[in-house]
Amino acid sequence: LFIMYMAGNTISIFPAMMVCMMGWRPLQALMSLSATLKALESSSRRALQGLVFLVGNGLGLALALYKCQAMGLLPTRPSDWLAFVTPLQRMEFTGGGLIL
């Protein structure tokens, strides 16, 4: 987390890789949720432990998203969608000029 803070909000290869890792690891963990739950089968407070695992990974993911947002990687502003704004449709036609 400290490293993430130190990495700053500029987009370059290392912070980007770190953010990717940060987002990817909780996702991976969530993917292997069933396997983890299986490992916890013996435990008595299985539900609680599972929940903590889920919340912890969720937090990690949120943190990664927040980091992405801070770095400006998420398309949340209108400027990110500017390229898709269609040209205005013309309602009137006008023409003419200096008298020939």
């Binding site: 502003r77 449709q89 023409g95 003419g96």
Partner: protein
């Protein structure tokens, strides 16, 4: 923007012109290689008479100040008088160097002549309204200047000397008498002054000539007689009636006399031409007081004298068939224009002409001297004839002829009728230009056609696809075969000529057809990648000074309908207009009949709606504010009725200082919806510019540093109007800029720039306007840029209506200093508008500067901040520099540039540029570099060898791995 050395001439070409000839001189020897010309475009040049190329060229000012009044040739020197007789220059004709230049006193120029003593030509005499001056030919120094007596009442017009040590000056008091002065060459003393009564004479030019040993011959059309007076001896004019010679004078034609003086050191020829009607000349001789008739030339279009050695010949250009008054083939619309011209137009019905030589002493025709040549059907008639005569080895006379036709074409002819070269000098005055896509090839068109048609069953479609693929295959094999065939031929023989039959669009649509309209009324179709003229068409009934508007009604995209261009021609004097509809690819007149325009047309509007044949609808508004539609089919009229409420016209009357808007009604009449008056006492409207209709703007806004969006105000109906003050005092002069909405007449922004002066050059595009003017206070050229933004919110994100705009846009403005004046300005344009824009600025030096628009951005901050850095804004600096590497035309300068035309190509990165003026230059520009094209020096060999190597290596290693696995398994 600069090019590498090996790219020179790869994408660009330049053609140089001299303009319509005013004076020309051909050397009278067979081996001579040059002809010296002075033109209406104020150019002195020498052309190579073998190829027609320009050997050297000097371009003077384009205004009246540079106008060439006279050109005299003596040996290797050409003496020109220019700027209304103010400047006398002598040029070395071999290399085009200036020998000397002197300025003369003021006074309106009347004539110039070389003055010879019996042994040599040493002086040049210049006749002004009130003075005669004599200059040395060797250095231009003035020998003497003498005032002419009674110069207020007498118009001195004629200057003559024949190597006898005196100069004769003939002045005229119209319808009263002639004043003949005789000057001594040595000291300028008036040795003789004679007054000769001539109450019937109005002017000397044309109706008088000097023949023999200083004998003045004048023709009196009314009395049908000649008047003769020897300048040296006689005191009054002898009257010689012409009835005895049985010469018929044409009615209402001022008869003219054409005489010749072979050398300034000797006497004139005693023979001269008398022009009796536009097509009737007679060769007469006046010798020892006797007038004799040598030969009559009926049906002659032009005559000319030429001398070589002792022989003087007369060349006569005649029409092979009958000359007919007027053109009755009705090729072009506007019949009223034709009627007006009928009286002075004689056309040759099959456009085939003969030139013959006649010996002047006897009037006999010289054998084997006929040149026969043909001009294009429906073309122009010859206007000027210059002859180069020489003696062949066997002492017979040979000659070449230079013919200039009405459409400013120069032809150099050789016996027996071979065109050595021809030049299209009307291209020195291009007034309007459009670029049209070339048509698809047959095979491509077939494919396109397949997609265009309605589906007719699965099997039918499949068969059609098969057949079109078969055609493609056929075309491809034909292409391969041709390549194979060409490869066997030696390289020099392979001509990759472009002609009208193999015209086809290239892959990226980089090659286009340039349709050029010239001031002489000649249209040209020029292929843009090589500059070859593919077709030309002369509109005979266009008078000089007409205004033109060229529009593309149907592009080549609608196969099988041919593309269609429409040219509106409006005569300045009669105010009548006509439409000429043609196919821009082949130059043929279209079958479509344009409407006959009874009223003068004020303006036009090309609508994006199409008729069933995919031709865009052209609306013409006449001086009664009625609208004519072309094409006017039922379909079109129905569509027009539907959308009439959204069609508006704006008309700008610069003379009355009035801008007015009109709304179209359903019955094709209009009603005025707004009017803005700009008082003409204070300021006058100089330019009005709307936006280009084919412009695409990809980005609707700009991303700010804080990642919000600043939306552009893209009003398609916006007009930029520039006015200049009538007061030109440098303290009070100003220019005004008005941004107006063309639909509502609402003034969106107005500003007055004090202490500024025109000429104003302006570019209006997207959401910005850039204009350039002269700052009289700081004495420098300045640019001002205006940009319009809507703000961070769009009022209406889907449609733009001028009638529903409650919020005025924000206007940002900044000014810059530019170190040079400019002669033309235009913005680049690309297919989809993604590429960044550059301004192309034509400098008076002939260079074209490609200036990134980002340098002229009113958001450039004075103090750079974090946000502005984020936006990549360049900090403001007031001066815009001219870097030579930004010139797109390296050393191919364009003389007297009048305009730059830009057109998009099929590649988003590439914009086609044509600059025109006296020269024509075509090139391509890449404002954002060639991001969608592989570089020229792209290493295909390396890349493909690496690729193949890698594939090969994988195969080997795979094999090796297999072997290893097998070995391990065995172990």
């Amino acid at each position: 923007a600069a090019v590498y050395e090996d790219q020179v001439g790869k994408f660009d070409w330049r053609q140089q012109y001299v303009g319509k000839l005013k004076f020309a001189s051909l050397e009278a020897s067979q081996g001579s290689k040059k002809l010296v010309v002075a033109t209406e475009e104020n150019v002195v040049a020498a052309l190579n008479s073998r190829s027609g190329e320009i050997l050297w060229r000097h371009v003077d000012k384009g205004t009246a100040e540079g106008a060439i009044d006279a050109m005299l040739i003596h040996g290797q020197d050409a003496v020109t008088v220019s700027n209304a007789g103010r400047i006398l220059r002598s040029w070395e004709t071999n290399i085009g160097g200036l020998n000397w230049e002197t300025s003369l006193d003021t006074g309106s120029f009347q004539g110039a002549a070389l003055v010879g003593l019996p042994e040599a030509v040493k002086y040049v005499a210049v006749l002004k309204k009130a003075a005669l001056s004599l200059h040395y030919l060797s250095n231009g120094h003035q020998k003497w200047v003498e005032h002419l007596p009674e110069s207020e009442s007498t118009q001195y017009q004629l200057l003559y000397s024949c190597g006898t040590g005196v100069i004769h000056v003939v002045g005229i008091v119209p319808q009263s008498h002639l004043n003949i002065l005789t000057f001594n060459v040595e000291d300028g003393e008036i040795t003789k002054q004679v007054r000769v009564a001539a109450p019937w004479l109005r002017g000397l030019q044309g109706s008088c000539g000097v023949v023999g040993e200083a004998v003045l011959v004048c023709v009196d059309t009314a009395a049908r007689s000649l008047h003769v007076c020897a300048l040296d001896t006689e005191q009054d004019m002898r009257h010689i009636p012409l009835q005895s010679l049985e010469l018929e004078f044409a009615d209402d034609f001022q008869a003219r006399i054409l005489a010749t003086q072979p050398s300034v050191t000797g006497a004139s020829r005693t023979q001269f031409f008398l022009q009796l009607s536009p097509s009737h000349f007679s060769l007469l001789q006046y010798k020892q007081g006797l007038l004799s008739h040598l030969r009559d030339f009926q049906q002659a279009a032009l005559v000319s004298f030429a001398t070589t050695g002792e022989k003087t010949v007369a060349a006569v250009l005649t029409c092979r068939s009958e000359l007919k008054p007027g053109s009755s083939d009705g090729l072009h619309g506007g019949s009223t224009l034709e009627d007006a011209r009928r009286q002075d137009s004689l056309t040759c019905s099959n456009q085939t002409y003969n030139i013959n030589l006649y010996l002047v002493e006897t009037g006999q025709r010289l054998l084997d001297t006929t040149i026969t040549f043909s001009l294009e059907q429906g073309g122009a008639k010859p206007q000027q004839l210059y002859i180069q005569v020489f003696l062949k080895k066997d002492d017979s006379v040979g000659y070449r002829a230079l013919v200039q036709t009405e459409d400013h074409m120069l032809m150099f002819l050789q016996q027996p009728g071979k065109v050595v070269w021809s030049r299209e000098e009307s291209l020195a005055e291009v007034v309007s230009l459009e670029m049209v896509d070339l048509p698809l090839t047959g095979a491509q068109a077939e494919l396109e056609g397949e997609f265009g048609k309605k589906a007719d069953g699965l099997l039918g479609m499949f068969l059609k696809r098969l057949s079109s693929q078969l055609i493609l295959l056929q075309a491809w094999t034909a292409h391969l075969w041709k390549m194979f065939y060409d490869a066997r031929k030696p390289r020099s023989q392979i001509k990759n000529e472009i002609n009208i039959d193999n015209l086809a669009r290239d892959e990226f649509n980089l090659q286009k057809m340039m349709v050029m309209v010239t001031a002489s009324g000649k249209l040209f179709g020029i292929e843009s990648s090589s500059g070859t003229i593919l077709w030309k068409q002369y509109l005979r009934n266009v008078r000089p000074g007409s205004s033109f508007k060229l529009m593309v009604q149907r592009t080549t995209a609608h196969f099988p309908h041919p593309p269609q261009c429409t040219l509106l021609v409006k005569d300045k004097e009669t105010k009548m207009s006509f439409l000429y509809v043609f196919n821009p690819i082949f130059g043929k007149r279209s079958q479509v009949a344009p409407p006959v325009l009874k009223r003068p047309i004020l303006q036009t509007l090309l609508l994006p709606i199409m008729d069933q044949d995919y031709a865009k609808v052209l609306l013409l508004i006449d001086d009664e504010y009625k609208v004519t539609a072309f094409p006017a089919t039922k379909n079109v009229l129905r569509q027009l009725e539907e959308i009439a409420h959204s069609i508006y016209f704006y008309l700008v009357d610069a003379e009355q200082g009035k801008l007015s808007g009109f709304r179209l009604k359903k019955d094709l009449s209009t009603e005025e919806s707004w009017e803005v008056a700009i008082p003409t006492e204070v300021q006058r409207i100089v330019t009005v510019k709307g936006k280009r209709s084919n412009e695409h703007v990809h980005s609707q806004g700009r991303v700010m540093g804080d990642r919000s969006v600043l939306y552009k105000s893209l009003n398609p109906n916006l007009l930029a109007v520039v006015t200049e003050s009538t007061d030109t005092h440098h303290e009070r002069t100003f220019i005004g800029i008005y941004l107006m909405d063309g639909v509502t007449g609402r003034i969106i922004h107005s500003s007055v720039q004090k202490k500024a002066k025109g000429p104003v050059h302006m570019v209006h595009s997207e959401n910005w306007v850039v204009y350039q003017y002269w700052n009289t206070k700081a004495r420098r050229n300045e640019f001002t840029v205006l940009e319009l933004y809507e703000g961070t919110e769009q009022y209406n994100a889907t449609a733009f209506s001028s009638l529903d705009r409650p919020i005025l846009p924000q206007v940002l403005q900044q000014s810059y200093i530019f170190p040079s004046a400019i002669s033309a300005m235009e913005a680049t344009i690309t297919e989809r508008g993604i590429t960044s824009r550059h301004l192309l600025i034509g400098l008076p030096s002939g260079a074209i500067l490609s200036l990134p628009k980002a340098l002229l951005d009113p958001r450039r901050p004075e103090i750079p901040t974090e946000q502005s850095r984020e936006e990549n804004l360049i900090p403001y600096s007031p001066d815009v520099q001219i870097h030579a590497e930004r010139f797109i035309n390296y050393n191919q300068t364009i003389s007297r540039m009048r305009g730059i035309y830009t057109a998009p190509s099929g590649l988003e990165s590439t914009c086609l540029v044509v600059a025109y003026g006296l020269d024509i230059f075509q090139t391509r520009v890449y404002p954002s570099k060639q991001f969608d094209v592989l570089k020229d020096d792209y290493d295909y060999v390396l890349i493909s060898s690496v690729l193949f190597g890698l594939v090969f290596a994988t195969m080997i290693t795979k094999r090796l791995a297999q072997v290893k696995l097998l070995n391990r398994a065995w172990r």
